[in-house]
């Protein structure tokens, strides 16, 4: 096996002593078989998650960001999905090698998830309180029913559901989308997990509700001290919540770094493209600058760098077409990029961190 650059195996803060990561993923490969052939949804992904931090994973749809976390919990349908290889160390155990039973005991207890669409993620025929209580009871079978219900009420109160004593006996269809997502968060933090995975938690919601849900997420994180993985395609959300960022493209990690570093000096042309395609409040532009072309087919992926057909930096250089760029440190030890010519991006600042608003 080839040696894998331990992406992000660097302390989030280089001055303090290096803490042990709570979750450590190495060379994860996940495939899906479809009618047209085998899709490599996740292709050799490695990263670490440190206690208490919020790690953002950003990328277009189909970049493998959800699958990479879902497969850890055994939540991808198998078949058609298949975990080809890799390692995911959590509490001294490799999640990918655990028995179904052992993984089930971790799921929802130490590793909890908030899903994208609260409208479809709650069972329509069961009461909210029952669904939250089930999460508690399945991992703590000895707790009495009254206590479970009281805990459900407390959790609903914590996530800001008004009138929780009444709401706990209602069905999902009696909740609005925002309220349902609050209930989902309550369910996820019911057992005080050490890792919370939030998969596009605000995407399906109304813009006005999104900010509230972010507040709830922050509060939930403060309350449980869970390390959080925030999966999103929204760079704004990353800027708001994350400490570190992983940028994924075509099933691979292409850039890793602190939020401030990445926004100030992106060192991968794809990251630069993502930022350029965002609306900027400072510039008086008429058009956004999209990334040309489409994400590659994951069935017959191009040789060399997966991004080269769309890359403004590549310009048809042979190295981009032929040689797959490894993930390597640049500028500082905690900043990694997978681009042969990352140095050429030097001095090219990102946009989001530019002071925005009045006075500029």
């Amino acid at each position: 096996m080839r040696s894998i650059p331990p992406s992000g195996a660097f302390a989030p803060n280089p001055t303090s002593p290096v803490p042990e990561p709570v979750l450590s993923i190495r060379d994860l490969v996940v495939e899906f078989s479809t009618e047209d052939g085998i899709v490599q949804a996740v292709d050799g992904v490695s990263y670490d998650l440190y206690p208490g931090e919020t790690l953002g994973i950003v990328g277009e749809s189909g970049s493998g960001k959800s699958v990479s976390t879902m497969s850890l919990l055994g939540l991808i349908p198998q078949p058609p999905g298949r975990i080809v290889r890799g390692e995911a160390m959590f509490q001294g155990k490799d999640l990918l090698k655990l028995s179904k039973k052992a993984l089930r005991r971790i799921r929802g207890k130490d590793l909890a998830m908030v899903f994208q669409d609260p409208m479809t993620s709650l069972n329509p025929v069961l009461k909210i309180g029952f669904q939250i209580g089930e999460a508690i009871k399945t991992h703590n079978p000895k707790v009495k029913d009254d206590a479970v219900k009281q805990r459900a009420v407390d959790l609903l109160k914590l996530v800001g559901v008004p009138n929780p004593e009444r709401r706990v006996d209602q069905y999902p269809h009696e909740f609005s989308g925002g309220m349902r997502q609050r209930a989902m968060i309550a369910m996820a933090i019911a057992n005080e997990p050490s890792v919370l995975i939030a998969d596009e938690p605000t995407t399906a919601l109304d813009v006005t509700i999104q900010a509230q849900i972010l507040e709830v997420l922050k509060k939930a994180q403060d309350e449980t001290h869970a390390a959080t993985i925030l999966i999103t395609h929204d760079l704004g959300l990353i800027a708001e919540l994350a400490d570190r960022v992983i940028v994924m493209y075509a099933g691979k990690v292409v850039e890793v770094g602190d939020v401030s570093t990445i926004f100030a000096s992106p060192r991968h042309p794809y990251t630069v493209g993502l930022m350029d395609s965002l609306p900027k409040l400072t510039a008086a532009e008429e058009w956004l600058t999209p990334i040309p072309g489409q994400p590659p087919s994951l069935i017959s992926r191009p040789p060399g760098c997966p991004f080269h057909p769309r890359c403004f930096l590549s310009q048809g250089r042979a190295r981009c077409r032929e040689e797959e760029p490894p993930l390597r440190p640049i500028d500082e030890s905690a900043h990694l990029t997978a681009c042969h010519f990352a140095e050429e991006l030097e001095g090219r600042a990102g946009h989001l961190v530019e002071p925005v608003g009045a006075g500029t």
Binding site: R107, G108, E134, M187
Partner: protein, 325 residues
């Protein structure tokens, strides 16, 4: 809930009135009940006129509809056109037999169909799933009457070869005095087994296919993923979160199938000469007697409406999103 049921019942009255008018006009205009008498050279035109007059057949359709409705309400559908036989006692007797027959078919098909469908969905693409799928496709393509014939052929061949009578191929009982208790029951089962199998086959195929699709859809739903993410044991995920949700839409399928089972009864009862509604209907039709045919259609329409009401209520019991105010 109670007000909802009452409202639905009240609403079915105009539906039934409209249906009764449609049935009456449809049966009246499609057949001349005296056609056979007219072609008989021994009956004079005067005799036919006097029959027409005595039976009110010379009146306009709308007037005859009035008479018919009056008879249906006050005299329990009145009498047959030929022979003046009272309709209701006959119809009530055959109704009892057919309801036994159809309800047992529904129960058996539902249990089998649900079990097969759920197991197929849980073991998708297994040998069992492929076999069940193949059989259900064959089931959809097999006419009920031919399946009934084949079952008879099979029993006859067994009887001819080994002189063993496993199931009877006609009638409801071996003799008028079929005995009591266990003997009566065994005799009944031996008589009803083949018709029930013939009637169940298509329904079982339908329910199992539907249940399989419904269960697969639910198993791939977001809320089942949520249930798994909570760390529930798989059995609980399937029973509590998937099965119940997958079952709800099947209620509608069974309710719609109820009407179709009467069609199945027409065929099976005719082949197995069972004294049921289907047999009664075909015989009345052969006799060109419009009144028992109309009464039959009315009774079936009423039962279908009642059954659909029951299905709607059950739906509300299982699905909290539906509330009848």
């Amino acid at each position: 809930m109670l007000t909802y049921i009452i409202r639905r019942l009240l609403y079915s009255i105009p539906v039934l009135v409209a249906t009764s008018f449609l049935i009456f006009t449809f049966v009246s205009i499609t057949g001349d009940p005296l056609g056979r008498l007219r072609s008989n050279p021994n009956i004079t035109a005067e005799q036919i006129h006097s029959i027409e007059h005595s039976k009110n057949l010379d009146k306009p359709v709308i007037v005859r509809y009035g008479y018919w409705i009056r008879d249906a309400v006050t005299k329990q559908f009145g009498t047959t056109l030929f022979g003046n036989r009272k309709i209701w006692p006959d119809l009530r007797r055959v109704m009892g037999h057919t309801l036994q027959f159809i309800l047992s078919a529904i129960i058996i098909s539902a249990i089998l169909g649900i079990a097969i469908g759920v197991y197929s969905a849980l073991r998708q693409y297994s040998l069992f799933d492929y076999t069940a799928t193949t059989l259900s496709f064959v089931g959809f393509a097999t006419p009920v009457f031919w399946l009934a014939l084949m079952l008879q052929v099979l029993m006859v061949q067994i009887f001819l070869k080994w002189n063993v009578r496993v199931f009877y191929t006609s009638g409801l009982s071996s003799s008028v005095n079929a005995g009591h208790g266990f003997h009566f029951l065994l005799d009944r089962v031996q008589h009803l087994a083949l018709p029930v199998i013939a009637l169940c086959a298509l329904s079982t195929a339908t329910y199992s296919r539907f249940m399989r699709a419904s269960m697969l859809e639910v198993l791939n739903s977001d809320y089942v993923r949520t249930a798994r993410a909570k760390g529930l044991i798989e059995r609980r995920v399937i029973m509590r979160h998937a099965f119940r949700n997958a079952l709800i839409p099947l209620i509608t399928v069974i309710a719609i199938d109820f009407g179709a089972l009467f069609a199945g009864a027409i065929v099976t009862e005719t082949i197995f000469t069972l004294d049921g509604m289907g047999f009664y209907f075909v015989n009345s039709l052969f006799a060109s007697d419009p009144y028992p045919v109309m009464a039959w259609l009315m009774v079936v329409a009423t039962m279908v409406i009642i059954f659909n009401l029951i299905a709607d209520i059950l739906y509300g019991v299982f699905d909290p999103r539906i509330r009848y105010e």
